[in-house]
Symmetry: C2
Amino acid sequence: MNSMTRIASRPYEFPDLTYLFRPRTIAVIGASEKPHSIGNHAMKNIVEHSDFTGTIYPVNPRQASVMGLQSYPDVASLPEPVDVLMVVIPAKGVREAVEQGGAMGCKFAVILTSGFSEADEWGRAEEAALVEIAQRTGIRIYGPNCPGLVNLNIPLGLTFSPAFKDDICPGPIALATQGGGLGRNMIQHSVRGAGFGCWSSSGNECDLQVADFVHHMAGDPDVKVICCLVEGFKDGARFAAACARAAEMGKPVVGLKVGRSAYGAKAAASHTASITGSAEVNSAVFAQLGVIEVDDLDEMLDVAQLLARKLPDGDEKFAIFASSGGAASLCADNVGMAGLELAEFTAETAQALAEALPPYAGMSNPIDTTSISISHPEAYRAALLACARDANVSLIVAPLPMDYGEYSVINSNSLLEVQRESPVPIVPVWMSERQGEGYHVLARGGAIPFRSLRNMRKALRRWVDHGRWRHARDEAWTSALVAAGSPGEAGQTRSLTEAEGKRLLAEAGVPATAPVVVAGEAEAREEAARIGGTLAMKVVSAAITHKSDIGGVRLGVAPEAAGEAFRAIMANAAAAHPCAAIDGVLIEPMARPGGVEAFVGLSRDPVFGHVMTFGLGGIHVELFADVARRMLPVTAAMAEDMIGELRAARLLTGYRGQPARDVKALAQLMEKVSEFAVSRPDLVELDINPVWVGAEGEGVLALDAVMVVQA
Amino acid sequence: MNSMTRIASRPYEFPDLTYLFRPRTIAVIGASEKPHSIGNHAMKNIVEHSDFTGTIYPVNPRQASVMGLQSYPDVASLPEPVDVLMVVIPAKGVREAVEQGGAMGCKFAVILTSGFSEADEWGRAEEAALVEIAQRTGIRIYGPNCPGLVNLNIPLGLTFSPAFKDDICPGPIALATQGGGLGRNMIQHSVRGAGFGCWSSSGNECDLQVADFVHHMAGDPDVKVICCLVEGFKDGARFAAACARAAEMGKPVVGLKVGRSAYGAKAAASHTASITGSAEVNSAVFAQLGVIEVDDLDEMLDVAQLLARKLPDGDEKFAIFASSGGAASLCADNVGMAGLELAEFTAETAQALAEALPPYAGMSNPIDTTSISISHPEAYRAALLACARDANVSLIVAPLPMDYGEYSVINSNSLLEVQRESPVPIVPVWMSERQGEGYHVLARGGAIPFRSLRNMRKALRRWVDHGRWRHARDEAWTSALVAAGSPGEAGQTRSLTEAEGKRLLAEAGVPATAPVVVAGEAEAREEAARIGGTLAMKVVSAAITHKSDIGGVRLGVAPEAAGEAFRAIMANAAAAHPCAAIDGVLIEPMARPGGVEAFVGLSRDPVFGHVMTFGLGGIHVELFADVARRMLPVTAAMAEDMIGELRAARLLTGYRGQPARDVKALAQLMEKVSEFAVSRPDLVELDINPVWVGAEGEGVLALDAVMVVQA
């Protein structure tokens, strides 16, 4: 395989972060008593607002003690290597502190200080020095340029945030972010009743990165769901491996990635100095990994809290329980828009509802109790209980369109009471901006009201979809993904000729035409006669990529016309590219007429490595962007999913009397292409366009191939 | 024109609702002192919670006075005809009360009582009787089955809602809803600082309907924006005319219509007994009328409040002012995702920012002040003021990712102070669920914080789009729309033959082939020879709609083969439809090869009347649903917009080296088709498929036409 250079893949190892999130000893470098200083906030958060039972060592050369604790002049003077070195001094002193900590065997440096790679040249050099210390001494670095991390299940706040003390709300949701502001926003969903476990906010990620925290959270028994809020991945394939681990552990991951627009990508890059990558690829990979992609922070919490309450199966049926006709209609509209299914009540439920509610109430699904919720709140409660006991109901949505003061309080309490009697999740949607006492009753009771019907609709859809993904998950694929490791850098590249590309594909088991390359007119005539039938002839030159534009392609050539075609092609190529090295002319049989043309593309994404793109040619891609994408490896089963995902899938499965196409063979081709790429990490780009797709049983054939590899 | 029956159109007249919203005299039929009764709530809302300075007449046969006011035994006993008869008695007594009110010359009956057409057969009959009373006596009816109406700019609450007293928040937003619950939800946005004027909630709409309220609000000087929350339209064309009036008056209309899914349509129909219609048509007509369609209630308020603050021009440029890098990135991402444009700061602004902010702050757009917002709030204020003074900035978005307690209060006050010094709207986005005092400072100050970046993104996009719509609005079209009036009921229908349809189109100026219909073989040969060239031949029978499926079509026929083709077509038609009346065979020249095929369809929507659908044939419609729709009339300019709206528009404007198509001629054809339909209200359906579209200058041609008219 002299044309390809193999690069060894690097399987992932993840660090043990137990003592980062549950340290036994902490040194605070820059501890201070000066009010409103970072060093003071950091100390107060540990000493006063946490429930930390280990040892705290303030480090401050100018004070003998800080907040009643003996202080040390520098890290080297500490009486023992600590689990966490918390660094809140200005940037110029950070390197020395970490060096000393690493030398004495400290486990983690949590560096909150800013002014490193996000700031300037000096900062970049200092950050590189920190990485070097970590590699040399084994100390692992968290940050720099971050607000710290918290473990609310202790609670322990390794952070300078003055908001820490107000946001202590233990619970099953773990949070991995880069910046601090957005993470704090998530935590403040505690006022809805949400609870959080560990929260990492890893800033510049010079060493530990989001993937490491996801991996840790996947193994943390206190965590049920992981939320990731990411501006850019240092290593997307590592993140994928961590998500695969979370899937194995049955912990859903919810993701929001900045960089879905050029403005966002630019701002994120300048904020965290990381690569944002392509939004389309990111979304495709998230979907593939089962990472539930959301559009905003509230949507992240919405779906996370549902997942924390119950892992879905994908076939859930819903009941709507409203006390206003308008809310019932709008709620039903939203359930329908999301493609979700309303449950049919059992006869028993129907009878119980008829007994509880007045005759003019809506008693099929959606239920509209009417204003009886105000006049007869006990009837509201009885009807809700009947609904919650229905075996056909997976989850109840209870839209509450307005704050009705004391009446809302009564109904909220009824909802919590019924919830205690039933395992069926009851999900209130507090639609009003006025969060009266009725709202707070629900929040305090852990019911975590949704803000709006739109948010409910999106969260339930994502919840059900995740149930489907869980059940369809391919464990073998996950292992393959983890084994594949990092794609590495692309560097310098070179193009192969079509003939060379097709030969490599054919060797890898991809059905491709086997072209002959001829260098002279006589040879062209001879080979054409030997192959027979109708022929395609194309110029062969690594320097000419748009062959047809320059008259370098002749299709439907009869063998007896091959000599003339050879001359014309060579003349056209020479005229258009006088300096290009031309290897000759490729001759191959034409594909049978009547096939559908598809394309299979591979590219090396800077974040996630090899990504396959599949679609039909022409207007399908160019006008309708109708493509499916996957991170490699792609199995034949996944390839069939990709084919089915196209809006134009019907063109392959039989459209307007056309025969169904050989989808099985197409999927196998895609699997072979994936195997080929995985075995050759130096592959930078591959475009098989078109792939001829015959009718069922006729197979498929790669008719053209553009391949780019590392030089 | 013997084949078409003309139906007179009915231009709209709208009632004067001044004394409904600002009555001088009110009688409360069913006034009561019984606590928690509807009649008591209704009285208390007028007497205790309103600022009503006119006369109130309680009507209650069992009490001499109610709440200190003299009571009357029935409506007939009232000392004068009142402006508003407010009816809160059970359904069985309503008809008599309204009859008496109508007889004595009362202007409006506001009927809150339920149990009419939404309930049962008896209720439907009673409601019909109310309509008859209204038509006979001139009294106008509001309701029944509704919570009443309010005018918060007085304030006056003609409602039984116990929440009325808590939701008095005068302001520029008017609200037209059908049910009450969702409207109350909107009003409760007052806790964000939003203010509302009149609110109608018109229930079953047996007489007055949403369109009448929109028309009234358009003329109310206290109103700047109209929000419509609709479950179904009684008369969509009337609503369109009211929206046209609002546009003339410069009052944007924001709309949310239930019925975007089958569940929603069914629930809405059972709730309000109105037609929900097609969601696709509704969205198309909203867009055409400049009604800003939203997806949820919070989105409705979001865009309405922006419009109330400033009418946009469509070329707005935005500044992002954040104090967290993550919030700045995510906000920029959202601005980019919405396709909005960030402003470039002037040199003056850049200098002012550099003076106010530390060197590590983000000083291009988005601005990230960093945590200086906490440590140096005066710098935050100075930077915001610099930004607000920049001539390139149309609006400032200020994302606030979390509640920072006292620090948030300081920054919120700065924001309000800067807003007072600048006409540039400053829009805070309070992203956190925790609404601390900093939030309430903004709300009380009228800054109406957005709930999330996603909501901000959607609202700003809609706001800018509405600016573009305002400037592109075609006033002549509006007048034509209003003049066109109601489409009426379709009733029994019949199909015309292709030949007849094409003749009518040709007479109306639509380029169409002029076919000859022949009844015998000899005639076929003769006419074929006369026409010459290559011919199309098709069976002519009003009973056969799928002509090609039964072998009733021959294309590319040479004149000398016309006799044989005639025989074959007649035989196939007779075999497939032995009982169908067959008029003969149509002969016409084939279209030139090489054109693009489009289709132009007209249908009569039950809500909005004639609607045109335009698209390209085949997969474009079937797989990608790539069509554009408009309510009639469609001008040539609007038709060009429709053509440009298609995702596949490039196939008409020149794609992959193909020549540009005759878009001008196509747009003219569409205008002629629209004129034809407007002049013939009995047209039920018209499908011109395909329309042959030649290259620029070659024109267009209707190659087939299926026309259905009222019988």
